[in-house]
Each structure stands twice: as C-alpha cells, then as structure tokens.
Symmetry: C2
Subunit: 337 residues, 2 copies
C-alpha cells in the first residue's frame, strides 16, 4: 500500500467563508512514529460551520490555523500503528486528526476511542460526536428545558439542530424548527419530529410565523445563526426564557461587530437570559452524553442525516457548500470504504 | 389637623422621561376606612428611575399608571388608623402608597412593617428598601460574584449601584464603578469604597478606561444603563462573565428597539451570559435581604447617600432631575419631620 499522505492545507486566509481556493492538497510521506504517538488512518473527515472561525484571524476561542498548516478537523479512523500503551492497532478513534489520510498524533489529540462497534463509525463525527454532544449539553445544561416548554431551534435540519429538536422532544417539550427551504422543513417535520417548522426563506413575515408557531411564547431558543432569524425569535421570548448561543452562521464577519436590535429592555422585562456556549467546556462529561445519545439511536428515538462526499478532493469546497445550505445532514468526507 | 390629602396625579402620558408638567397636585378629603384597610400617613415618598417605565404605555412588567391616577410610588410612613388585625396604630410601614399624604390601603399594598426601629425610617425606601434589595439579589443571585472577581457597576454612585459595589466588596471582589462627573467618582472612591471609578462624562475613550481599570477582564457587569457604557464594558467581558440587566436608564425610548452592537459572537467566544432581572421576583426572600443589609449598615460596612427634597410640590419634577443626574444619593420627598 502506498504510504503517501494527502493533506489539505490552508493556503490563504479567507476574509469570510473559506472556499476551495483557500486550500491546497499536497502529498507527503507518512511521518515516522515517536514514542507515545499513534498512527491513525482516517476514514471520515468532518466538515463543519465552525471551521470558518478556526481559520479566521479575528480573536476567537481557538488560535487560528496557520497558513501552510493542515486544516484543523475532527476525523474518525483506525489506529494502524501504536507506540502508546493506551492504544492498540485496530482501535477505532476520533479526534483532531486534520484533513488528511494519516495522522501521527499523541493521546491528547484523541477525543475518544469509539466504543459503539454496533453503530457506523461515521456517527462518531455526527450524532455521537461533536454535533450530538453540542446539542446535548447546549440544550440540557444551558437551555435548561422543562416539560411543556416551547423550544425553538434555528438551522433545525442541521446536524446540531436536528439533535437539539429531538432531545427537546425527549425532554417533554414542544419543538419548533426554523430552516431554509421546503425540503429541510419537510425533513424537520417528518424525520426529526418537530411539532412545527418554519421555512424562513419562504416567509415574508418571520415575526408573524413565529408568533403563530409559538402561541405561548418561546421558553428556550437554541440558536446557530444570529442575524434576522434571532431578532425575530427574540421578540417572542417568554418569561424567564433561555437563549443558547451555539453558532452565528448568518453573520458573515465579526471583524467589527455588526449592529442589531438592542435586547436589554426586553431581557429585563422578560427576565430572560442569553448565554454563549462552547462544547469544549464539557469535555470532562463527553462520555455521559455519547452513552445516552448512542442508546437513543439504538432505540430509534434519535435519528440523523448524513451528507457524505467521497474523496479528499471534495474537502476544500465543502465548507462553502455548508453555508450555501447544499447539505442534507452532517457533511462528511469519506476517504475509503 | 387638616385631613386634606394632597395627591400627585398623572395628568398626561410622557413620551419619554416624566417631567413636572405631566403631573398635577390635587387636594382631596382623606377617604373613610373600610374593613380590612389601614390609613397610612406617609413621611417619605420615593423617587426612582423605574417610574419612567411605570408611566410608559409601552409593554412592560407592570400595567401603566392611568391618566388621572395617583402616581404609583413606594412610600414609608406610619399607620394612623387600622381596621386590619395585622396592623396597629403606630406601626411603621413601607409599601406602594403612592405620591400622596395619606393612603388608604389593604394589606397587599404593604411591602413590610419596618422592624429596624434603631435606623432612620427613610432607609426603608433606599438601602433597606427596593434599592438595597435590588442590589442584593441582582448581584448575588444573578451576577453570582466569586471572590477575586472584577465587578463593574454602572450608575455606581446611585442608590442601587453604590450598594452593589459595596456588597461585591463584601463578597471578596474587586469593584470598578462607572459614574458621571467628578463628584460622583469621588463619592464612589471615598464613600462607597470602589477600587477604581471611571467618569464616563470626562472620558473620550471609555473602552481604554475600562481596559485599564479591568486588566483581567470583567467577570460581573451590573448594568443600570444600556447604551454606550454597556457597549464599552461588554467588549471587556472575561470568560464566563455574567451581565445583570437591572435598568436601561441611558436609552430614552424602547417604543421601537434601538440598534446597538450585536453581542452573539462575543457571548459565544466568552461563554458569557446576559440576564434580565426584576427585584419583584424575589419578594418571598425580601426579609432575608433586609436583615443582612440592616446588619451591614449597623456595622458600618454598608453606607448610603440620600438626596432629600422637602415638600410634595417637589415630587412632579423629581424624576426628570434623576435622569439629569442632579441627585447625590437616593432621592426622596419628605412630607413632614
């Protein structure tokens, strides 16, 4: 087997959404293992909206990927060589392995060993990975849903949003999804079991649509967008509502902060709160979430959608596609069968 | 003694800050007591920023005062006649007695009997009243200060802000006050013991002033203003910061929501939260707060300032004066010795 390692590297820093031209694919020999390292052969590479932030030079929660560096990415694969006593050949692992065929990493790069041998490995990057865990802790720990609450989710057909809606439903809540386009709205209602779904692209009066879908107001708003969708939902927050800021997909640049409606008075009158959330803060409780998510998947109570692109050459253009809404589920790059 | 009751009534609905011309003073006989009612002779009437909201027709946390009605206000006085078994002549009480000499009310209008006979009755409307209790619960229950935190307070020389700063200090925090004018800044530093104070009126670069005063970032921001002061503080929120929205004094109208910088991305990156707070939600725990506040006052660990105007004819113009920053402490109207 050829031991060439194809890598997707950041070639230029995008001003906004990273596109194919900001990356280049190079081939390198697979490096030799040092003591304490493992060699992972990636099977699936993850593509996610957060990548826009990871390559941005604007102050953020992580240092930006450097020019010439392999694109930071979660991946799932198999340990094919190990000089670390905690890992053996054949272990399935997921972690920050980058957009490449092979990763030589220390144990700190490994998110976890994948214990769910009965479920597809790709799930480790979606509903049983960062997306599912984000939905789990963002909704349950920050959103604090209570039975009977109305929970509104933006990007509701996405890999995080669809899990949020389903976990909210498992928590006894009424769920309202907001998504773009008739196909995604249908997916929200039919596949993900939202009680109502709003097509923001087809709605002139988002405000009225939310009012109609949430007659008792919004108790929890799980937001992946910021922008006009959030502004419309915010008006309908009920008493003691909780807003989870998980992503800001609809605002293209925060180089200087854009303007929007001031929320202070509304928060005061409603005694509501808006809180930022980052899943990495819950790393210590990762297994708790994955265990429950996996059980729900096995029981058919938590479903998911995948959007799999074949071949590493699809990676460079894959983020841009997400922001255009091309995908119909968790977007992954499959490197081999 | 003449049993005429002078009342300050709302004459016209202000578009913004209520001024003298929006009120009129009328004289009426003192009404006769029905069963279950008490007659309170007010000694002090409270004047507070929240009154702007109470007379506003814009949706709010309370129904607006009607045209022709006695201005809603907290007051402190003495029970001079009682047909309620819970109250006796001579009891000192505080409650929603309105801007008038005499109030005939049921027990539901009474906030509490004033138990602190060793302290001035006026404190029942300030540091031992709504202002102190607001500071106590807003800071401790919503702001959740921890020892070592940097706590920033706007309107820091005001009756709420000054108590917040002192309670934060009692909680082991470093305190930074923001106030308008050299006199208030001096009062923050000398009387209220803030570790640093910023004169926002004398500062061209509020952003730099906050950065200098908060080298480790802001952990708790207790806000009474909204507007540009908040915008500047928000930029310096640290990891997991808590913002308490207690008032919105610097925004004159919320008839349509004004614009300001979008905070979503910053909240996400900092995992920070912004939460609205209303003291009435803590009514059941009022005694807990007053007991501690009174003890701190007796021990000299909690100090206060009062701005007392003599005579009911001062009431109509007194709210406007607050918004101009005329006062140097809790503003009260004294009706008699």
């Amino acid at each position: 087997m050829s031991q060439l390692n194809r890598q997707v590297r950041l070639k230029a820093r995008p001003a906004d959404i990273p596109k194919a031209e900001h990356f280049e694919i190079v081939e390198n020999p697979v490096p030799v293992l040092a003591d304490g390292e493992i060699l992972v052969r990636n099977q699936y590479l993850s593509v996610e909206p957060a990548m826009r932030g990871w390559v941005s030079a604007v102050a953020n929660y992580s240092t930006p990927v450097g020019i010439g560096e392999v694109m930071r990415a979660f991946a799932a694969g198999e340990v094919v060589a190990s000089r670390h006593q905690g890992f053996a050949e054949g272990d399935k692992v997921t972690g920050l392995f980058g957009w490449q065929d092979f990763a030589v990493v220390g144990a700190q790069a490994v998110t976890r060993k994948v214990a769910e041998a009965d479920l597809p490995l790709s799930l480790a990057l979606g509903v049983l990975g960062l997306n599912g865990v984000t939905a789990y802790f963002g909704l349950l720990a920050v959103g604090e849903p209570r039975p009977g609450d109305t929970v509104v989710v933006s990007t509701a057909a996405g890999s995080v949003g669809s899990a949020v809606g389903q976990i909210a439903r498992l928590s006894g809540c009424r769920t309202v999804g907001i998504a773009g386009g008739a196909a995604k709205v249908a997916q929200c209602l039919e596949q993900f079991g939202f009680d109502a779904a709003i097509d923001y692209k087809a709605t002139d009066d988002l405000d009225a649509a939310i009012a109609a879908a949430c007659p008792d107001g919004v108790d929890v708003y799980f937001d992946n967008t910021a922008g006009r969708i959030s502004d419309a939902v915010t008006k309908h927050l009920g008493l003691r509502a909780r807003v989870v800021i998980c992503g800001t997909a609809s605002v293209s640049s925060w180089d200087s902060w854009p303007s929007g409606p001031r929320v202070e008075r509304h928060l005061l009158v409603k005694r509501a709160r808006i809180q930022g959330f980052l899943v990495f803060d819950y790393q210590a409780r990762y297994e708790e979430a994955v265990k429950r998510l996996a059980q729900w998947v096995r029981e058919g109570r938590l479903t998911y959608a995948e959007d799999i692109l074949d071949g590493i050459d699809k990676a460079p253009g894959a983020i841009d596609g997400l922001y255009r809404g091309d995908n119909r589920g968790k977007r992954l790059i499959r490197l081999h069968g």
